[in-house]
Amino acid sequence: MVVYSFYVFDRHAECIYKKRWAPRPGSSSKAPQANGVLDVQSPFKGLSAEDDAKLVFGTIFSLRNMVRKLGGPDDNFISYRTGHYKLHYYETPTSLKFVMVTDTKTNNLRIVLHQIYVSLYVEYVIKNPLSPVEHPGGIGVNCELFELGVEQFVTASLQN
């Protein structure tokens, strides 16, 4: 399976963490590299790097509200799939939103996103005494350990 990108949004609808993986050139498996080559350009054509995060948030926000309206307040939006990619969604009770964009053949990643929240976000961001409570502009989330953890997590748990 291939992971294209990963986003974290806070409860103020701000993108506080964003990471993209470029496919390994010339490789058929296209697995993300261990040292994660960061794509300098936006993976979404014709959009700047900030715009795609906003579009992703708008999409998940609308879909989440739609799902709540139809399925009741205890219904959760899990994922959607187009012909070319699949977007997985996990929301914590504190309205922190984790989004991962992968290829279409990937199974449900809700558990993986939950694991990222529990074992990486809580451990390295929440428990960091120097990290602010809110993360405007992504301060506090861009810490080295979290970054490294996400990288390893994605490479290890998703490459099989």
Partner: protein, 142 residues
């Protein structure tokens, strides 16, 4: 028999709601106004998800597709867009198999009983008794 198709919504190419029918009460009752908003929202989100296709895949924009399947813990939404831009949204039970077959059949019924109806105006709300009847028969027979 436990019916697993919850409801059907048809959206025209401009994002307007032209048809909706519930087959059971598994989903919340939504007012027509909210359904219209929902149809419009889905139409917009469909267009956004199309443009969110990662460009590293190198897929030309003409071949990109919007949202096809949406999963939630209570239902699954399968969307099918015809070449003319009409969208069929089918709400089913999360593990319902062969939804694409059902949606094709619905499209077939739509082609036969709605578009071939000489009194039906394109892009307008669907009020065709024969379509209603055959749709219901098909859903019951399943």
């Amino acid at each position: 028999m436990h019916r697993v198709v919850y409801s059907l919504i048809i959206i025209n190419k401009a994002g307007g709601l032209v048809y909706n029918r519930d087959f059971n009460n598994a989903l919340n009752k939504v007012s027509v106004n909210d359904l219209l908003v929902l149809a419009g929202t889905f139409h917009g989100v469909h267009a956004i998800t199309k443009s969110l296709t990662p460009s590293s895949l190198g897929i030309p924009s003409s071949q990109r597709t919007g949202i096809e399947v949406l999963e939630s813990s209570h239902f699954r939404l399968t969307s099918f867009q015809t070449f003319t831009g009409t969208k069929f949204l089918l709400f089913t039970e999360p593990h319902q198999p062969n939804v694409d077959v059902i949606i094709r059949k619905v499209y077939e019924l739509y082609a036969d009983y709605v578009t071939k109806n000489p009194f039906y105006q394109l892009e307008m709300p669907i009020r065709c008794e024969a379509f209603d009847r055959h749709l219901l028969t098909y859903m019951r027979a399943r």
